[in-house]
Each structure stands twice: as C-alpha cells, then as structure tokens.
C-alpha cells in the first residue's frame, strides 16, 4: 500500500506545483491578490504531499518492504536501522526525492516568512513552483522510487558499504539543504527581475536563505572531506574529484554572493552583479546535481549513475539557467545602477573579494569540465588532477586570504587605509614571527610552508583584533562578530591544510606480527590480525601498538571490511588525534605471513574541520542576528559608541 500512497502523493504534489507556478507568477501583477493566496496554499499543499511521499518511502525502507524495487535494490534486513533510514537517499531515486522535499520545505519557509513585498514573494513562489514542477516530472518519469517488483524478493541487495557510515549518512542531506537553499536566492532574484523590484529589498528578503544555504554547504563540504579522510585510507582530505568540485563551486559563488549582497543591502551598490551571482550560484548547484547524477563522470563518488537521465537533466539545466540569464539580460539594463565610493573603501574590498572568488570558481569549473569537453570534441583523454589546481587555484586563494583582514577594517564609501594598517600591525607582526620561527625550527625547511603558516596566523590574529578592538563583546554588532568568526575559521582551515599537505610524514611497510616500523617519533608494532564478524560484514582487524619513549602509549586497530551481500569492501582507518596532530593507520593486504601497514602523521590535520565548523558558526551567528529585531543591535551599537 505504501508504494501506491507515495506514488499518488507525488502525482498530487506535481499537480499542485503547476498551480503554484502559474498562480505565483500571475501574482506578480499588482492587482492579482487572489492568485497570490492560491500560490501560498498550493505551496503548503505541495509540501504536505511531498512530505507524505518521502514518509512513505522511509516507511518502506524501515519495514524492509522489498516489493518496492528501490528498497529491494538498496536495502537488506541485516542492515542496522540507521542505515535503513539513510538508505532512503542512498540511491539516485531517493536522493532526487530528498531534493524535492528540501525544495518544498524552502517554499514553505518563503510562504510563512513573507519577507519582501507580496508581489515579490508571489513571484518567488512561482519560480520555486517551476523548479518543483521540473524535478517532480523528472522523478515521476525517469526516477520513480515507488516502482513495484513482482515477485517480491526474499532479501534485498544491500547498500553500497561506503555509504554505510555516519559521516556520509549526514552528508547528502546537508549538501542538499545547501544546494536547494540557493534555489530560494535564485527564485528571489528572478522575482526581483520579474517584478522590477530590484532594489535592496530582494537582497534583504533572500539573505536568510542565502545564509542557510551557505551554512549547510560549508558543513556538507566539511563533513564530506572528513569522511574522505577517514574512509578512503590514504590520509588525504581533498582530491579535486569532480564530485567534490561540484560542491565547491556553489560554495565559492555563495560566499561571493553573501559578500556582494551585503553591499547591495547597505548602499544599493552592485545590484545587477548580486542578482547575477544568485542566478549563477543555483545554476552551479544544478550543474553539480547534473554532474553527480547523470553518469557523465566516472569518479570515486559516482555511486548512482544512469546516462539516459542525463538528457532530461541537461534539458532542465538549459531551461533553468538559460531562462534566468535571458531574464537577467532583458531586465538588468533597466536597473538604476551606480553608487559612488572611494577606491579605498569596503565596496572596493568586496569587489576584490568577489572577483577573486568568482575566478576561483571559474578555475574549478574549467578544470572539472575541460576533460569532458575535450573528450567530447576531439576524443582526446586528459585528466586534470591536484597538481593543476595547486598551480591555478591555490595562488588565487592565497591572494584572497591575504586580503581578507582588510575588508572588515574599511568603512563604507570612504575607508582609511592608514588606520586599517595601524590596527592590523600586530597581526602582521605575529605572522612575520611565525614565518621566521617556522623557517628556523621546522625541518625540512620550506618557504612555501612558512608563508602558508604565516598567512593562516595573519587571518586568525586579524580576526582576533577585530573582536578585541570593538570593545565589549556583548555590544558588538552581530554582523561584525559573525564575519570575524568566519574569517577565523578560514585561517584555522588554512593552518590545517598547510600541516597536512606540507608537513605530513608517511611510512609504509610489510610487517609480520611482532615486527616494528618507525614514523615521526613513534614506533608501530603489529601485534596480530584477527577475523571478526560484523552485523552485515566480515572484517580483518589489525592490532597495532604505538610506542613512544619505550612505552606503549596506545593501541590502534585499523580494519578492512568485506560486505558479502554487496560484493564490496571498505577500509576503516584508525586515527589517534591530540587535537593538534593525527596519527593515522590503514591496513593493506596480506603478503605471505605479513601485512601492509600504511601510516601517516599529519600535524594540524584536525584544524581543517575545526575551521569549517568555525566558518559555519559565523554563518549561524549572522543568521541569528537577522532574526533578532534590528533595533536591539542598533541600540547596543549606539551604547558602544
């Protein structure tokens, strides 16, 4: 029964999304208030039915109803309950349903928040309706999760074991909250262009959605990178894999958008540019979905791919992006443009931030799509790997981070660069001392590592000064607090990246039980390897003693798991962290009576994810500030001055 309920709910949701699109867009006219009411009701109704469909699929997974094809293909009775639930979005069909579910939630928020004028809200709902319409059609005709299987099999095929992991279980919902959150910014931008209300109001209306999307993308990318670190077994945290890039591009543009929208809200500057960024951000989300879901790539992440669906997604992509850009080209020139500011001002700093972030996003875009394009046009196969991005992306980002501390220190319209330099002098001093100290004491001596480390401390101490200089922390405007937190996180992440990529020690050896290998001040002794039975896997687990100063300080147990049902295997690395440094072990294969053990000592590795968490906290602080009544923060600001 659940399958039929889900199917029916999806069809009804589709019908309502059509109503929502038509009524919403019609409501953009001044006189059409009845159709605005219809659009709101349709949005609520669509949410209810999509939620019902999602609930039905979840129920089928929880009860292991193998008469539903999707459940039979992606679940198994022996799977732990948590992975039965996360299996709902483990497949292509389920993840598309999750996509629409998140879209429906955002539409509901738009209805109830009622930010901006009634016309703006209505038009935004209309655009959301169009998107929901396209995705529901896609699900119903190419990716239906409720298809039946007859006869019903006795047991399911199981879920890709790489997905049976708490980090990756949470990763797709986070990423989708981010991807789809950008749809709200996109819809508001399109609404602003449709209604002609392209002043600061739309940016103010869309800001909470941009923030929510950015926070979720930050957390999603951080989670994904953490997962790759501890699951893939070779100690890296970022591989410039196309699927990682697909999430990084919208994040870069969303970051640029948050900064540009700040100027649009405050002074009305860069109106058309902010609109364009909102369109580009969501376009890259769609492209990301296309890259991951169409099977156009084959990469470590391409779990669910089917090329026939690619054509539909591509058509949707062209319609959404092309339509929005056409609308932009048609309406944007009518905007009253142009603000006045000095070359040294917050506006200029934000422009630089935007051009660097956009160029960084463009670099990732070129590096990701160039091999596909070249292959399609000439048949020549090349691969673009980490060395390419180290040469092209890294310098752009280094310049960006070096300039970050100046932004918050410059005033609107007219900034005082001398005052900014004076305030930032201690931060520069700390960075300089750090560079010299690294050059003097850290071996092997590396100028690149020293500069990168100094750059990280420069950003961190500048953020610290930002917090200290503004006096009483309770009187601090929440926006300044938020930006300091986020910039602090950026610096911390940079320290982590520096330590992990430039100071990592690596050791690899074939050990028989009782034999030892040295790494970075530790001695590792293999004690033995046992065979274990998990709930739905078999494992080989090594016991490794960690010896320092002739004393056993820890016992670590790296593992390899074989999932007989799925016919796949995964590694479970053992990581011992002090918060400042990780000792990381992975178990390799058996050769004769010995085992291959790979070990890394990665200084500062945990900082990468701490930094991500701080950035997200910055976003959350800013979001919270938006929800507080404005006059409270203004009163506090006045009191501080």
């Amino acid at each position: 029964m659940t399958g039929e309920i889900g199917q029916l709910a999806l069809a009804l949701a589709f019908a309502l999304s059509v109503v929502m699109a038509i009524a919403g867009l019609a409501g953009a006219r001044e006189t059409a208030s009845p159709s605005r009411a219809i659009a709101s009701s349709a949005a609520i109704g669509m949410f209810v039915f999509v939620a019902l469909a999602f609930g039905a699929l979840t129920y089928a997974f929880v009860t292991s109803d193998f008469s539903v094809l999707n459940v039979a293909q992606n679940s198994h009775t022996a799977k732990p309950m948590i992975y039965k639930i996360t299996g709902v979005w483990g497949s292509h069909e389920g993840s598309m349903l999750l996509w629409v579910f998140v879209l429906a939630i955002y539409s509901l928020f738009i209805v109830f928040a009622q930010r901006g004028s009634a016309r703006l809200t209505s038009a935004a709902l209309g655009v959301q309706g169009l998107l929901a319409c396209a995705f529901l059609l896609f699900i119903l005709f190419t990716s239906n999760p409720f298809l039946r299987l007859d006869p019903m099999p006795f047991e399911g095929a199981g879920l890709n074991p790489l997905l049976q992991d708490p980090g990756l279980a949470m990763h797709p919902p986070m990423l989708y909250i981010g991807y789809v959150g950008l749809s709200a910014a996109f819809s508001y931008a399109a609404a602003a262009l449709i209604t002609g209300e392209s002043n600061a109001a739309w940016a103010r209306a869309a800001r909470p959605f941009m923030l929510l999307a950015w926070i979720a993308l930050t957390l999603g990318i951080t989670l994904g990178s953490w997962w790759a670190y501890y699951v893939l077994g070779w100690g890296g945290f970022w591989f410039w894999d196309p699927v990682e890039n697909a999430a990084l591009m919208p994040w870069l543009i969303a970051t640029a958008l948050l900064h540009s929208a700040l100027a649009t809200e405050r002074t009305g500057a860069f109106r058309s540019w902010t609109l364009l960024l909102a369109i580009l951000g969501f376009s890259l989300s769609l492209i990301g979905t296309f890259l991951v879901r169409s099977g156009v790539l084959s990469s470590v992440h391409a779990f669910a791919s089917d090329p026939t669906r690619g054509v539909y997604i591509l058509a949707m992509l062209v319609a959404a992006i092309g339509g929005a850009l056409a609308l932009f080209a048609w309406r944007a020139p009518q905007l009253q443009g142009g603000t006045a500011f000095e070359p040294v001002s917050k506006e200029s700093a934000l422009l630089l931030n935007n051009v660097l972030l956009s160029a960084a996003a463009a670099t990732v875009f070129i590096g990701t799509l160039y091999p596909l394009l070249l292959d399609a046009m000439t048949g020549q196969k090349i691969s673009v790997g980490p060395p390419y991005f180290a040469i092209t992306f890294a310098p752009i980002f280094v310049v960006l981070i070096a300039l970050v501390p100046f932004g918050p220190r410059l005033g609107w319209r007219n900034g005082d660069w001398r005052a900014a330099l004076r305030v930032l002098a201690p931060a520069f001093g700390i960075a300089l001392v750090a560079v010299l100290a690294v050059l003097a004491f850290v071996t092997p001596r590396s100028l690149v590592a020293a500069m990168a480390f100094g750059l990280g401390l420069w950003t961190i101490s500048a953020a610290g000064i930002d917090l200290a200089k503004r006096g009483d922390i309770r009187a601090l405007p929440i926006g300044a607090f938020a930006s300091a937190l986020a910039h602090l996180g950026l610096g911390i992440t940079l320290l982590g990246i520096t330590g992990t990529t430039l100071w990592r020690s690596e050791a690899l050896d074939l050990l028989k039980p009782g034999q030892t290998m040295p790494i970075a001040g530790y001695t590792l002794r293999l004690e033995g390897v046992q065979l274990l039975h998990g709930p739905n896997y078999l494992a080989e687990r090594a016991t490794v003693s960690v010896i320092a100063n002739n004393r056993i300080i820890a016992t670590m147990a790296p593992e390899k798991r074989a999932f007989p049902v799925e016919g796949q295997a995964t590694a479970v690395t053992a990581i011992r962290t002090t918060g400042f440094s990780d000792l990381y072990l992975a178990l390799g294969d058996q050769r004769g009576s010995g085992w291959v053990i790979r070990a890394y000592v990665s200084p500062l590795a945990p900082f990468i994810w701490f930094g991500g968490a701080f950035m997200a906290l910055g976003g959350i602080a800013s979001f919270w500030g938006r929800l507080r009544p404005r006059r409270v923060s203004e009163a506090k600001l006045a009191a501080a001055e």
Binding site: W234, G338, S383, V384, G385, L531, Q568, V596
Partner: protein, 137 residues
C-alpha cells in the same frame, strides 16, 4: 578457508586502503626510491581513476609501480619515465595535463578570467570615484 576466501575477495576489488609498494619491492637507494614515490603520486591509476598510482590497489597499478622502478634503475630520468608511460597509456595517466595547443584554454583560462575580472573591477572603481566627484549619490 574463510580467511583465504576473504583475502581473495579483497584482492579483486579497488578497495580503498593502503596497498602501494612495501618491503622488498622498494628500491635499495633511498634517493631513487624517493623519485619513484614522487613519480607515482603524479600519475593516475587507469583502473581506479579517482586515485593516483601511489594510492591505488589495482593489480595494474602495482605492475606500473614496479615498472617505474625498473625504468629508474635502468637510468631513465623522471621525464623519460613519464614519456614511457604516456606512450603506452596516453595523456590520461598524467595528473597534470601537458601544455599544448589543445590545453591552452585549460592552463591560461583562469588567468584570463582573473585579468578580465580585474579590469572590470578597476573600471567600476574609477566610475564610482567619478560619481563621488560629480556629487551624485
């Protein structure tokens, strides 16, 4: 028996774990070995395409790691080893694509975008300054 089956099972898959070169396969000269390791990090495994030769557990990757060491021992330079492998597996094996007319857009694209963006920013700033002088808001 179970253990034998499990070992077989692991050896058949691109499993995400550390295999690479171990023990007796390493070159005796640490300098040559370091060159081999550096090389295998710059080369992509053609079986497990998300991974470098250094990380991959595929049997082909193991053969190629061995081949790199054979070439290095025979006195090849790093470039000669790369050319040797490119001649057999194509440019795809290089993590860093070669600079040639077909990849100019790839290599110079980012710089071009940065220059265009920079020029646009300069233009906007100059115009904003002019507006300030002429007194309009």
């Amino acid at each position: 028996m179970k253990r034998v089956l499990l070992t077989l099972f692991f050896s058949l898959l691109c499993i995400h774990a550390a295999f690479a070169v171990a023990g007796s396969e390493k070159l005796a000269d640490p300098k040559l070995e370091a060159r081999a390791v550096a090389l295998q990090k710059e080369l992509r495994c053609v079986v497990c395409q998300g991974q470098s030769l250094d990380e991959s557990s595929a049997p082909l990757a193991a053969d190629l790691r061995h081949l790199i060491r054979v070439r290095i021992k025979a006195g090849d330079s790093d470039e000669q080893v790369e050319q040797y492998l490119v001649a057999r597996y194509g440019d795809f094996i290089l993590m860093k694509p070669p600079l040639e007319p077909l990849t100019y857009a790839l290599w110079f694209g980012p710089l071009g975008i940065l220059l265009i963006g920079g020029a646009a920013v300069m233009l906007v700033i100059v115009r904003a300054r002019k507006r300030l002088e002429s007194g309009s808001p």
